[in-house]
Structure formats: C-alpha cells, structure tokens
C-alpha cells in the first residue's frame, strides 16, 4: 500500500497552487481588469486548481515591490515559492477590450514556474469579436461584452487544461500569413538544436499604444510552442533591460546584444519594429498588422534573420467572409507563427 501513489499528491502535481497576478492592461483604455481576474480564478477553481488567496498575494507583492504584473523575474519567482508555496504564476495581459457593438476582447495568458529562472510552461492567446460567428439567422451573435469575456476565458482555460494533460495541439500556418520578405543566414541553417531565445520589446512606430509589448507576447507564444526554442520569460528580460539601462534607439546595438547574450545565457535575440497594429473600429473594416523582425545569433554576433510581414484580416477572403480573421490578435498570432516556422525551417 505504501508504494502506491498518494491520490492527493498526484492531484497536487497535476493542479499546483497558482498565484494569479493582477491583469496587465495593454489595451490602452480603461477596462474591468478585476472582473477578468475574478472570472479567471473561478474557472481555475472549477478545473481543480488551488489559487493563492488575494491577501497573501497582495502582502507578497507589497513586500517585494512587484510593480510589473506582465512578467516575473527569477528572484521574485523563487521568493514567491518560498514565502507563499505557490508553484506557478498565471500572468494575464489584456490586449483589447471593446464594449460597443460588436464587443471585442483579446487576451494572452501564460503559466510560469515559480523557480529561478522562471520557465514558461504554457502560453496561449485568444481574440474574439461578437459578430465573428453569426451562424444561422444571426443566432451566434454575441451582443454583450460579459458573455464574450466569459467565452474567451473559457477558451483559454480549456487550452490550459489540454496543456496540463499533454493534449495541446499546435495549429498549422497559412501561406497568406507568411512574411513578404525574408532573409535567413546559412549560419543558422548549419546548427540544429534547441535554442534559448530572448524576445525584446519591438520598436513601436504604430498608433496603437503598447503594440511593442503586445507583439512580443505573440512571438513568445509561437516560439515557445515550437520544440526548437526555450523562450526566456519576458519578466526576466524586462529586469535585465532595466539593470543594463538599455535604451533601444531604433533597435538593439551589438554591445547591448552581447550583454544580454552573456547574462541570460541565450543563443538568439529576436527584436523588430511594429509599424501598424490596428483592430477594426466597428462592424466593418478589417484588422491590419505590419511588422518587421531581426534576429541576432550569439555564435556569430550577426543578424541571421530578417523579415517583413503585413496582413489584413480580410486577406484571401472572397466569398461570404469565409476565412476572415476578426481581430488583430489573431492576425498577428498567425503572422508570428509563420515567422517562427520559417526561422526553424
């Protein structure tokens, strides 16, 4: 009997104690972040996760002066585990929130281990609009943002559950989202191994607030989902950029890249520029995303990848909105996935 695994311990291993960080608002407008977080906690508890209570988390965040809720660094993650017993942190970023018809919501959520260095165990995003699946006689239309928010969060939590069960499927890429221009150095092609990769904030030249941080999350997700990459947690990168006082004027310079390579023990650094990140304003129009990427390789200290991508949600759509992508989140995600796959292959 003693050799049999304890069911309670197994359950704990499957559903570790989670610290759910306050939601990071990247939407650029006021949004009901507390409601999003509460819904998220309810869904997690329904799935059997234990969630760290608010008071303990608040006390910890105050004591450690945690201000960046969009990521976690190694020291904070380790302290979180030691002081609260939390095994992982759930970090949520709200990218888009629109209450006017059609309601819109876009979110990115990731599970990061409470260890030093913190490791990304799961990451997914969702972008939805109330009119994206009207169905027969418009029965599929969603008019209230609350209902859309619940649907989006349920989608994310289902993805987390699948990931915990080892059943998460990675969707394929579509040709229309491939970069329009791309350069890939032979240096990269010669090596086939797992790369540690740092994704730096993109230089934001668009009118959308926080677009530089939003696009980073898309790349973190798409690269992390490929077996060839271990992405460094953005919270760790953020802390290093502050520590080295890196000011990226028009992109990263080679001395800054060298410092990041050595300190984070990374093989690759991905950065870029975001030129447009637009969601459709009303029921008409189409989201539009335009960005370019550059990637440095530690071995050669040279640019080994460069690409330029731009797409509309209506690209390749000819009849009855078949294949239309309704949010910039979804467009950017598919574009980033194409870039990530082209880097590998």
């Amino acid at each position: 009997m003693e050799n049999q695994p304890d069911k309670t311990d197994a359950d704990k291993a499957d559903h570790p104690l989670l610290a759910v960080f306050p939601v990071q608002n990247l939407s650029g407008i006021p949004a009901p972040l507390q409601e999003v977080r509460e819904t998220l906690i309810n869904l997690l508890q329904q799935q059997g996760f234990a969630v760290l209570d608010d008071k303990t988390l608040e006390t910890f965040m105050t004591a450690h002066r945690v201000r960046n809720v969009g990521g976690i660094d190694g020291g904070t993650a380790q302290a979180l585990k030691q002081e609260t017993g939390a095994e992982a942190t759930l970090i949520t970023s709200l990218e888009l929130y629109g209450e006017k018809y059609p309601p819109k919501i876009s979110l990115t959520c990731r599970l990061v281990t409470a260890s030093d260095p913190p490791l990304i165990r799961w990451i997914d995003n969702v972008g939805m609009t109330g009119d994206e699946s009207p169905g027969l006689l418009g029965l599929g239309l969603i008019g209230q943002v609350d209902a859309l928010r619940d649907k989006a969060l349920q989608t994310l939590m289902a993805s987390l559950q699948e990931s915990m069960a080892g059943e998460q499927e990675i969707p394929g890429t579509k040709n229309k989202f491939r970069p329009k221009l791309a350069f890939r150095s032979d240096t990269l092609a010669q090596e086939k191994r797992k790369y540690g990769i740092v994704v730096l904030p993109f230089f934001n030249l668009s009118d959308r607030k926080n677009a530089g941080e939003i696009i980073v999350l898309h790349f973190v997700k798409e690269l992390q989902n490929l077996p060839n990459f271990q992405v460094v947690e953005p919270g760790v990168v953020f802390k290093e950029l502050l520590r080295f006082r890196v000011i990226m004027d028009d992109g990263i310079s080679l001395p800054n890249a060298a410092a990041i390579f050595s300190d984070l023990n990374a093989d690759l650094i991905l950065s870029g520029k975001i030129l447009d990140y637009q969601d459709a304003l009303g029921p008409w129009g189409s989201p539009y995303v335009d960005f370019s990427t550059v990637m440095f390789f530690n071995n050669s200290r040279e640019m080994v990848w460069a690409s330029k991508s731009y797409n509309k949600g209506s690209d390749g759509v000819f009849f009855f909105d078949v294949g239309r992508v309704s949010t910039a989140n979804d467009v950017a995600s598919q574009m980033a996935r194409s870039v990530a796959e082209m880097i590998v292959n």
Partner: protein, 189 residues
C-alpha cells in the same frame, strides 16, 4: 513624303518614351562594387507630408537588400549607435568626412543615405492612386565619395485608374516595387 515624316516622328517619340531615363542613375565606373560586403543604411529623409514614412521605406529597403544575400546590412540599432558616436548632424546628407568616420565606427564598407520624396495618395480629378518616389546614394567609406546614385517613382494615376477607378495598388506593393527597382539599378551598375 510629309506622311512618312509624321510616322517616323511618332515612332521616334514612342521609342523615346519607352527608354529608361539615363539621368535617374549614376554609377562610378572606376569603382569595384564587388569589394563592398557590408553596408550601413542611414535613416532616410522625409520630404512628404506624412509622418514616419521614411522608417517604413528604410525598413523595406533593408529587408530587401539583405534578402538578396549579396550584402550584409548592419542592424538599425547598431547604425543608430554609430550615428550617436560620430555625432552625425544630418543623417540624410552626411559629409564625406562623416561617412568616413561612420564607416570606421561601424566597420562598414559603404554607407547608404536616402530621401523619400513622395508617399501616399495622389488625386487628379475624380481619380486617385498611390505613389512613391525615392532617391538613394551609396557612398564609399574610404574616400567618402558617392559611387552610386539612383531614384525611382512608382505608382501614380494611370489610364485604368482614370477609367475604372479603384484607387491603384496598395502602398506596400508599390513600395516593394520601387525598392526592387532601386536594387536592380544598384546591382546592374
């Protein structure tokens, strides 16, 4: 006889119209372009009424130049550091001394500067279309002199736009077309 003259004049006029303007490109015939391996692309000047178009055009140009795999293009962040180090006043029109200093700071063989003259929509009556006009210069680092210069204009209102409307090609497409034309001019020199 007079009919013959008219026909000949028309043919001559048509042939002249088809020919590429020899005045849009300059290349130094004594320069060995094969010796240029690494180039720094400086931020372009913007003479249009639109903001940040010089960044967009430079971005496309750098990517397309890299994609040729003929030259290594120094990353934009490194170029910005070089500009700051040599205290370049006007990156769109550097002097020969500044080009030499910048080349040493960035370990570049040549420096490219440019100007975006037109970018965006043009209208003529009820017809509208997109247009782009770019001019570039390639300067050798050892002497700081201009060894290649090219310019191009793409898009604009054509007969189809006047008759059928439609607004012309998307801006990204004509930007790529214009940059490709400049790259052809550069490599064909």
């Amino acid at each position: 006889m007079w009919l013959k003259k008219i026909i000949l004049s028309v043919i001559l006029a048509l042939l002249t119209a088809c020919a590429a303007s020899p005045l849009s490109t300059y290349h130094d015939t004594e320069m060995d372009f094969g010796s240029i391996q690494t180039v720094a692309v400086l931020p372009f000047a913007n003479l249009t009424g639109h903001t940040r178009v010089e960044e967009r055009v430079r971005d496309v140009f750098m990517n397309m130049l890299l994609a040729t795999a003929s030259l290594y293009v120094i990353p934009p962040g490194e170029v910005a550091r070089g500009i700051s180090r040599v205290q370049l006043v006007d990156s769109a029109a550097p002097s020969a001394e500044e080009v030499q200093k910048l080349g040493v700071a960035l370990s570049a063989d040549a420096v490219i500067s440019g100007v975006v003259r037109e970018y965006g929509e043009v209208r003529s009556g009820t017809a509208a279309s997109n247009v782009i006009s770019i001019g570039l210069q390639l300067m050798e680092v050892q002497t700081g002199r201009v060894i290649w210069s090219g310019s191009t204009t793409k898009g604009g209102i054509n007969m189809q736009d006047r008759l059928l409307g439609g607004g012309g090609q998307p801006m990204n497409d004509i930007t790529e077309e214009a940059v490709l034309d400049l790259i052809h001019q550069l490599f064909n020199s």
